[in-house]
Amino acid sequence: MVKEFNILITGVGGQGVILMSELLGKAAVTDGLRVRGSEILGMAVRGGSVTSAIRIGDEVYGPLIPTGKCNALVGMEPSEALRNIAYLSKSSRVILNTAVTIPFTVSIGESTYPSLEEMLAKLGKASDMIIQLDAAQLAQEAGNRLTTNIVMLGALFGTGQLPIKIATIKESIQARFPAKVAPVNIKAFDLGYETCQQAVK
């Protein structure tokens, strides 16, 4: 029985955050697990911050992850991961795509973007386990940059913590994409998975 496992996916509109949570949710249901989740839709097309929560387990009721109770945070963009630091605890796993997306407010001089070191230092204060990867690079290796989110999904499973079976999530990836691009996505998943497994060791 799974009591409570909380996954928070953070990123920027257009990075495929919602698709990741749909895949996770479907797979969890297939495995007979209870799932709750929530996201802010609507602004996703227009480059704003996007977060999506997926919560699995029999003691989960609300759609939102309580402060400090995130088990795994998937950061599609470092500053967006940092924005959600309040959900982390020392034992949270943070899986971080190190590729930054600089908002236009920086170009017009309305805000500044921190260095990766600064961001990692802050995240390190909240959590003891930060796994960094260049997901876009791995996606390229898999054969398509657009699979960055699937690389990150693979990395999430690479932590070895998820209550969902790997075969099930792969099935839901397979079912979600047209036959032509499904293999690239599976490859992307495997690359993310292996990279994370290496890092965890």
Binding site: V29, V35, R36, R46, G47, G62, G68, A86, F104, S107
Partner: protein, 632 residues
């Protein structure tokens, strides 16, 4: 095996869905025949889901021009004995308010359900009004779900209850229901399809003062019956813990937070909990049972202290020795969370919180100054960006003639173009409600001496822009009204509207043109421009502003997102622009500071265009003083 969907006739099967899909499924299970809505976050996916299966399930589904009409369409079906619903965001109910208040006098024949999607925290809204107060004003019973599964069940039941008691019901959803995801268990689908029958009944349907006086007492009678019945509805549940001093009354989604909070604090068996699924009317018998068994009560509910006030009234009326807490420990601002409820209960029970929240807050506060500001922005290639630019240049030119210090005023409206209120466009001086731009402009024209250039979108024009346009003509307001026509209700998800030529169910229909409506309304200056031709657009808008009397400019270009999708379908290539570094004066930054297109970025001191984002609209090339922006 066929894939399971929201229209599958597969009772007992589990499906992972968005809350709004679950609500639509509830309506499908109830055999709803008529569904009407106007889009609005967080409600739009309900009608979208129904529209997708309407033909297969023999339902009629429409996007109405606004919420008032949507509700009237549903009301008419109910009058004729057919199950019907209208769904809308919370502020949409304001638009439907007029028929709503009298609908309650009429009562329901075919089950009639109004779905109000409230938005605590105003994630995508102009306010966070609590629509339970509107329901109370109209004696409309309210169901408020605690989970996505319950939202589906309540929606299905609401139609039955509505018929059983002959009264219209409201389902109050919130963002974290409609935009939550969950597994749900499917129920049976009713295949009953009724033929509508209009029975002439003056006393029930023709509201002169006589009928108002006849029907109000009947409505109150119906409401009294509902008041009794809610005590035994499964949505209200009382769990008394023996010896408990603290009771929690948790309404709707707050119940899920309360459950998590008592588990987290490890005091599950030490507090009594009353789950409320009908905040209006309250299950008074259950409330009294709880009140007589505890010393203190915490009321958890989202937004205003609605349940709290009613509970306090019960306590006051009966002089009960119970202290009621609610907004003193929680808040009427923003949505609730497990944390907020946990802290409130911890305080009342003098329990230590399971997590050191202060520490987390400290870390969060230290982090805040590091974070870049990432507001949603107009997409690359968005036509609104060009329209805003043209409006501002034209308005400033005219303002100079008014005097040195005079600034043009830009009454704005609600739609994607509102995203241009941020720098660098700063294109809106007021944003209040749909259609508000034109009305506000008419008022401003009476009291200030400056160019007044209002703008709204095409969907907004049909929704609430025509009456204020007529007003400007009738009352001779000297204002300029720009209609930013992108052939979509883009902000809420690209829904069709009367200016797009097709309906919710995908059928072709007449395509109404705002310029023809403006002319028919008596506007003497009406021009149509293409915003991507900046020079022409600016000159035309300038003429419109200089025109004595109300003037209309329709700025027409398809939404860039739709345009890109269509190009992809047609396998047409997008040719991006690039910055010719040999011509670019790196310090000028005009393209960035005037337009703020997300595709134009600084790489060190260099200005470059991200070719993966650029749509090739060419607007930046027109503002570059060095002619440094060229086609790839």
């Amino acid at each position: 095996m066929k894939e399971l969907t929201v229209s599958s006739d597969a009772p007992g099967q589990r499906l992972f869905v968005l809350g709004n899909e679950a609500i639509a499924r509830g309506a499908i299970e109830a055999g709803v025949q008529i569904a009407a809505a106007y889009p609005g976050t967080p409600s739009s996916e309900i009608l979208e889901t129904l529209a997708g299966v309407a033909k297969e399930l023999d339902m009629y589904v429409e996007w109405s021009t606004n919420e008032k009409v949507a509700f009237e369409v549903a009301l008419a079906a109910s009058i004729c004995g057919v199950r019907a619903m209208a769904s809308m965001k919370h502020v949409g109910v304001n638009v439907a308010h007029d028929p709503l208040m009298t609908a309650s006098y009429i009562g329901a024949k075919g089950g009639l359900v109004l779905l109000s999607a409230d938005d605590p925290s105003a994630w995508s809204s102009q306010n966070e009004q609590d629509n339970r107060y509107i329901a109370e004003q109209g004696y409309i019973p309210v169901l408020e779900p605690s989970s996505v599964q319950e939202a589906k069940e309540m929606m299905a039941d609401a139609f039955k209850l509505s018929e059983q008691f002959g009264q219209l019901f409201m389902l109050r959803s919130v963002t974290r229901i409609g935009h939550a995801r969950s597994d749900i268990t499917l129920g049976e689908i009713s295949r009953e399809r009724r033929k509508g029958q209009f029975i002439k009944d003056r006393t029930r349907l023709v509201y002169t003062p006589r009928e108002a006086r006849i029907n109000k007492p009947l409505m109150l009678e119906r409401f009294e019956k509902i008041k009794k019945a809610v005590n035994t509805l499964p949505y209200n549940q009382l769990k008394l813990a023996s010896g408990a001093k603290l009771g929690i009354i948790a309404c709707g989604l707050s119940y899920s937070y309360a459950l998590e909070a008592v588990n987290w604090l490890g005091i599950k068996d030490k507090v009594s909990i009353l789950k409320i699924g009908t905040p209006h009317p309250l299950p008074e018998e259950l409330v009294i049972k709880l009140l007589t068994s505890v010393k203190e009560v915490l009321v958890a509910e989202e937004l205003d202290p609605f349940v709290e006030l009613h509970v306090k009234a019960i306590v006051g009326e009966r002089n009960m020795p119970v202290k009621i807490h609610g907004e003193d420990l929680l808040t009427r601002i923003g949505e609730l969370s497990t944390r907020k409820v946990t802290e409130a209960i911890a305080k009342l029970t003098k329990t230590k919180t399971p997590v050191d929240f202060a520490n987390i807050d400290k870390l969060e506060q230290e982090t805040a100054p590091l974070l870049p500001w990432r507001p949603p922005a107009l997409c690359p290639g968005c036509p609104h960006r060009a329209s805003h630019y043209a409006v501002r240049v034209a308005s400033r030119r005219v303002a100079r003639d008014y005097g040195k210090e005079i600034e043009p005023i830009y009454p704005g409206d609600i739609g994607c173009y509102a995203l241009g209120y941020n720098p660098p466009q700063e294109a809106s001086d007021t944003i209040i409600c749909m259609g508000g731009s034109f009305g506000i402009a008419s008022g401003l024209a009476r009291v200030v001496d400056a160019p007044i250039v209002a703008h709204l979108g095409d969907s907004t024009f049909f929704h609430a822009g025509i009456p204020p346009l007529v007003n400007a003509v009738y009352n001779k307001a000297n204002i300029t009204m720009v209609i930013m026509d992108n052939s979509a209700t883009a902000m809420t998800g690209f829904q069709p509207h009367p200016g797009t030529g097709y309906t919710a169910m995908g059928e072709e229909t007449v395509l109404l043109k705002p310029e023809e409506i403006a002319r028919a309304c008596g506007v003497k200056f009406v021009e149509v421009v293409d915003p991507f031709n900046l020079k022409e657009a600016t000159e035309t808008i300038e003429k419109a502003i200089r025109f004595e009397g109300p003037a209309v400019v329709v700025s027409r270009r398809l939404c860039a997102i739709i345009e890109q999708r269509e190009k992809k379908k047609r396998k047409e290539e997008v040719i991006p622009y690039r910055v010719d570094q040999s011509k670019c004066n790196e310090k000028c930054n005009a393209c960035i500071e005037l337009l703020g297109c997300p595709a134009i970025i600084k790489e060190g001191t260099k200005t470059v265009i991200d070719s993966s984002l650029c749509t090739g609209c060419g607007v930046c090339a027109q503002v570059c003083p060095y002619k440094a922006i060229v086609l790839e």
